[in-house]
């Protein structure tokens, strides 16, 4: 991977975006996309800009994030506690696991009407729903993680005479951490989706509600509606990305983060050097030592690299 290769890659991506947007605008202008069904690209863009300029966009995002954060916190905390408890106690495990698996299989959408009935279109309804959706799968994942501590690690702990809370904190938690991290990553995304569904269908406040309002206001408000749809997607990407970055820092020591390290010994020619890794030496663990780049350029490229990893972990 060279600088040239990277420029090509980003050139391609921007090209795809530009083509897609251009096509959208073109089809609207020509009339293939009818104005009363679907707004043009420029209309949507300007609606987005308008919303961003006034407070509405940011308040809506804030309201959505409120429900997301509170629900996620409650659900995750409960899942960590319950998951650990049933993992450590065989009796608790066997009595409770069936119930948890059962509730996990219920589509959260089924619970929405109950939530509406109990709390109406409020913040409480939102975060309660989010917490409910997040809890069951995460509890199972935490339980699985705690139970999966490598027996060799467990034996080592015994030999080193680690017991009780110390053993838990120093040995069990770190071993279970990767599983918990995977579960949390999914939970972060699920929480946002449930949050927005709750707003969209239940009402209240936030990005989902803005979409609902725009939809009900008729074709003239479609640009606003699509603008908020884009916002919802971007929000999802940013939240998931932020989590991935945090995960890398916290779990830098774990194999999954060092992943292909072993293979690089045997197959060095397969090493893929991303922008992030090649131009930000030591910026985060696991990075390759840097290629020589002039100082100011290195700064900028380092930031871009960081963004790339943050925003597009799948890329």
């Amino acid at each position: 991977m060279t600088i040239r290769g990277l420029a090509l890659r980003y050139g391609l991506r921007l090209g795809v975006l530009a083509t897609a947007l251009g096509l959208w605008q073109g089809l609207s202008a020509v009339g293939v996309i009818r104005a009363d069904e679907f707004p043009s690209m420029t209309q949507t863009a300007s609606a987005l800009w308008d919303q961003a300029r006034t407070a509405t966009l940011w308040t809506a995002i804030g309201q959505t994030l409120e429900g997301w954060a509170i629900g996620l916190a409650i659900g995750a905390a409960a899942a960590l506690v319950v998951g650990t408890l049933i993992a450590l106690n065989a009796f608790a495990y066997h009595s409770v696991i069936g119930v948890i698996e059962f509730f996990k299989a219920i589509p959260v959408i089924a619970i929405l009407p109950i939530g509406l009935v109990l709390w109406g279109a409020t913040l409480t309804m939102k975060f309660a729903l989010v917490a409910f959706a997040v809890f069951w799968p995460l509890a199972i994942q935490v339980c699985y993680g705690v139970r999966s501590v490598d027996p060799v690690v467990r034996d080592t702990a015994s030999v080193l005479r680690l017991r009780g809370p110390r053993k838990f904190a120093l040995v069990i938690m770190p071993s279970a951490a990767p599983f918990i991290a995977t579960g949390l990553r999914v939970a972060v995304a699920v929480a946002l989706i449930v949050d927005i569904i709750a707003e969209l269908i239940g009402g209240g406040s936030g990005v989902g509600v803005r979409i609902l309002i725009a939809e009900n206001a008729g074709p003239s408000a479609y640009p606003v509606m699509y603008a908020y749809i884009v916002v919802a997607g971007v929000l999802g990407v940013l939240l998931a990305g932020a989590f991935t970055v945090a995960e890398r820092y916290v779990l830098h020591w774990h194999e999954s983060q060092r992943s292909a390290a072993g293979d690089k010994q045997i197959y060095p020619e397969r090493t893929e050097v991303t922008l992030a890794a090649s131009l930000s030496p030591g910026r985060w663990p696991g990075a390759h030592p840097g290629v020589a780049v002039r100082r100011p350029a290195r700064r900028v490229v380092g930031v871009v690299g960081w963004l790339e990893v943050a925003v597009f972990p799948a890329a």
Binding site: I266, P268, E269, T271, V273, A277, S278, H288, P289, G290, V291
Partner: protein, 270 residues
Amino acid sequence: MTTPGMTPPGVTEGTPAPVVSLLKVRKVYRGAAGSRTALQDITFDVARGEFVCVVGPSGAGKTTLLRCLAGLMPPTSGEALFEGTPLRSVPEGIGVVFQDYGRSLFPWLTVARNVDLPLRVRGMGRASRAARVAEVLASVGLADAGRQYPWQLSGGMQQRVAIARALAYRPDLLLMDEPFASVDAQTRFELEDLILRVRESFGVTVVFVTHDIDESVYLADRVVVLSRSPGVVTEIVDITLKRPRDQIATKGEEAFARYREHLLGLVMAR
């Protein structure tokens, strides 16, 4: 004991063409960390039917050499020839046994299907495939294991499956990358004898990479000693021990001990 340079590579009067010919092969890895010369100047031949072992300290580029020989990796400079033609990609007529059988065998296929796969690729008919699979599995001592999955077998048996699969399509050259390193010592002796028997019956040329000096002396006609990075051929040692080799008798000979001492000295020196 010959040293490189005394025997010119390539065809000499009256001798059949070598199966493998390496001439000044050099392999440099260019990574973000700078470049690393794994192989500096490798020159040797392997004659038809020979059993050549390649030894050297860890990180000496033995695996790199094998991958060049397999056509999996082109050298940075120099020539690697297989049966007279330069290696650009994996040629027909080569079999490879990797060290990590667990990762090489396909877990979604039974043993028989694993062995059968290269035959299907070569367009063999169903009846002849079945016959060939049975034959080659029998020759590695796994006649009844066809229906099982590789992960149901022990490590030694899995490596036998890998050997069977490599030999199924009767390659001219068999490359083995530390194949018995992941297997316990007892099984290792069995597998060593197995590979010698198999070489006799299939008449295949073998290049065998190992870090185990004893193993290399026991198996080989010649041992190529590689140095630490940048790898060069330190020496090529002819092994004139009698065949057929025997785990107890051969390893008890005085000549065995002398070869062993000499090679250990070379490998441990730098």
